[in-house]
């Protein structure tokens, strides 16, 4: 009989690159944090140091090839994203990902033809559950992740801020700096939006940097959903295959 090692949690995911891109974005916004694995799925929530942005991840257990959480109701593990990102940057096409939590150790395995095992320390963090921001969104838009990436990349070079404006039919993204402005119009009728719904013609502005940081995670996403309201935080959901979701909240800039 083979030796069976009991671990606290074992998460087996079929595409390591999705995690590489997600963590690539998270790393830019928060330095460290605590993942919580329960029977329902894997989640993570943290504020950035300046409390302007929040990262909120949920990946249902059904999206994993194998998902085991032993004994207890939940398993928590703290990671340094800088370290985790360094490991995941090695993920290639065809690599599968296994994350194993074993006591104070964390194993990250990249499997394709061979298996590469990285052992990184867990960091001990006090974990307190953050509430979800309470915002009544008035505007909702969904687009392909490629559209989202193009919009941010179009605005990035000459903008300090990104302003979303809703009209009855279209979503406007406006980038602005001291010297230049850029404006992009998206609508369902033109095919740039998948869904659009605006209760009122609201607008709000945000620092462009946070959107630049989201680009990596958008690379692996299927679609991106944006929700906002007049001078309220924006909620950007990266929607992944199998029901995974990485959400960013960014508080508004007052212009």
């Amino acid at each position: 009989m083979g030796l069976v090692r009991m671990v606290d949690a074992r998460l087996y995911f079929s595409d390591a690159r999705t995690w590489r891109y997600m963590v690539g974005s998270i790393e830019k916004i928060v330095e460290e944090g605590v993942f919580v694995a329960t029977g329902e799925g894997l989640s993570f929530r943290a504020l950035d140091t300046s409390h302007v942005a929040m990262v909120d991840l949920f990946y249902p257990s059904s999206a994993f090839v194998e998902y085991e959480v032993s004994g207890k109701d939940s398993v928590e593990f703290g990671v340094s994203f800088e370290l985790l990102a360094k490991v995941l940057r090695r993920a290639r096409k065809d690599d599968e990902l296994v994350i194993e939590v074993d006591g104070e150790k964390l194993y990250v395995k990249l499997k394709s033809r061979g298996e590469r095992v990285f052992k990184i320390p867990q960091i001990m963090l006090s974990y307190e559950k953050l509430p979800e921001p309470k915002i009544s969104f008035t505007v909702r838009a969904r687009m392909l992740s490629s559209t989202f990436r193009e919009v941010v990349k179009d605005l990035e070079p000459h903008s300090e801020s990104i302003t979303f404006k809703a009209t009855d039919e279209a979503l406007l993204a406006v980038g602005r700096s001291d010297i230049a402005t850029a404006e992009i119009e998206m609508s369902v009728s033109r095919g740039s939006l998948l869904d659009f719904d605006a209760e009122s013609n609201d607008k709000a502005s945000y620092s462009i940097e946070y959107f630049s940081e989201m680009l990596s995670s958008a690379q692996a996403a299927d679609s991106v959903a944006i929700r906002f309201a007049e001078d309220a935080p924006v909620r950007v959901d990266m929607e992944y295959l199998g029901g995974g979701r990485l959400t960013f909240y960014v508080s508004p800039r007052l212009e």
Partner: protein, 409 residues
């Protein structure tokens, strides 16, 4: 003189040569004006105690020149005032005296390849230990020709006096090294942890800069000379990064605090606000100053840095100011957002190095001039200290209301 946009000059400070000319016309003119400060009649052999004072140039990197500076005939007790940023600031030594002091230093230059075991060579020649000594070291410089009487300036390093290539440098006296420094010289470890170790054991920043510049810090096989200008900012950034790390998770300060100091016609107004560690550097150059001779109105330059230490632009002046502010916060174990306004008056006619930024901000941070002000009171106070406050304020974003996600939780 060619017409060059002054915005370019305030960024370039005479060394990036953004105007496209082969050498900076402003510095050239300044150099020719300071000729008259020279004393005539130098000989080829110069004896004197080095304070210690050295400079690694950047022209032609990796084939660089090392300048070994000596005040001819000065007494050992007297020599240290030629290289004394802290002392200059404490005693309020005026700009003209600093230029004069530096013009009295004679520099012998040695050509070296930065990457080819330069530190080992300098160590064998005893030049490295002398340069890191905490006391002046008697030295003799044999020059190949009589030096050209001139003073060279740039925005980061201290002015360098008359210079000639050296046939050899003989270190006569006994260098005295701080024990901690002596221990790390041959340690096979990256430069940043070593710099941090030295800093924490009380070795002063200027000596750490000099050590990095001489190639005395770092993995043994990767050591090389680092041009002084680069080393200065590198050390500021390395130490700031560590100080920021040590502040992670610490509570915020309670209320707005204002600090102020002025030296060498440079005014520094520092405002600390409760916050996670954003920083904003606002530089205001008055017209008719060194770099702004053709400007019609004051020029503004802004750099911002987020709590993780990512900045909008590289700026050695900002890095020099950041270090004493983080030192102050780290000593208190508190986080704060910081606004630093630097106003440069036209009387700042010669750039003497960014040490004065570090030292003046450090002096300012000793005690606040006001705490817990309302916006109206801050307005009046700042308006009285900085001539161009309304202009500065237009560029400051940290004073504007910033909603955080906590307002929505």
């Amino acid at each position: 003189m060619p017409r060059i946009p002054p915005e370019l000059c305030t960024r370039c400070k005479g060394f990036r040569l953004l105007c496209g000319l082969p050498s900076c016309p402003i510095l050239d003119r300044l150099r020719s004006q300071t000729r008259s400060l020279q004393r005539a009649g130098w000989r080829r052999d110069v004896e004197g105690p080095t304070p210690p004072s050295i400079l690694v140039g950047e022209r032609g990197y990796p084939r660089v020149r090392l300048y070994y500076m000596v005040p001819p005939g000065a007494s050992p007790q007297d020599a240290s005032r030629y290289e004394d940023p802290q002392g200059w600031r404490e005693r309020g030594v005026p700009l003209a005296s600093i230029v004069r002091l530096r013009s009295e230093l004679l520099a012998g230059s040695i050509q070296l390849n930065a990457a080819r075991r330069a530190f080992e060579r300098l160590y064998e020649l005893e030049i490295a230990p002398a340069a890191l000594s905490s006391r002046p070291v008697d030295s003799m410089v044999e020059l190949l020709r009589t030096p050209v009487p001139r003073v060279s300036f740039d925005g980061y390093t201290k002015p360098v006096g008359p210079t000639a290539p050296a046939r050899r440098v003989v270190v006569g006296g006994n260098p005295s090294l701080e024990p901690k420094l002596e221990r790390v010289l041959w340690e096979d470890e990256k430069a940043e942890p070593l710099a941090w170790e030295l800093y924490r054991s009380g070795v002063d920043v200027y000596r750490i800069q000099r050590a990095l510049s001489l190639g005395a810090l770092g993995r043994l096989r990767n050591r090389r000379l680092v041009p002084t200008r680069w080393a200065i900012t590198a050390v500021d950034e390395m130490l700031s990064r560590r100080l920021r790390d040590s502040l992670r998770g610490r509570p915020w300060i309670d209320t707005l605090e204002v600090y102020y100091s002025e030296y060498l016609h440079n005014r520094f107004l520092i405002i600390l606000l409760p916050g996670a560690g954003w920083m904003e550097w606002i530089e205001i150059w008055h017209p008719h100053g060194l770099w702004t001779q053709t400007a019609a109105a004051p020029l503004v330059w802004r750099v911002a840095e987020d709590p993780l230490g990512r900045k909008t632009a590289e700026d050695g002046g900002f890095s020099a100011a950041k270090l004493p502010i983080l030192e102050h916060l780290s000593a208190r174990g508190r986080n704060a957002d910081a606004i630093i306004v630097r106003e440069i008056l036209p009387q700042y006619y010669a750039p003497v190095g960014n040490w004065h930024i570090r030292e003046t901000v450090r002096a300012a941070m000793k005690r606040p001039i006001a705490r817990g002000l309302s916006h109206g009171e801050l307005e009046r106070l700042a308006g009285g200290l900085v001539n161009e406050w309304p202009l500065a304020k237009r560029h400051i974003t940290l004073l504007k209301p910033r909603p955080t996600l906590e307002d929505f939780l």
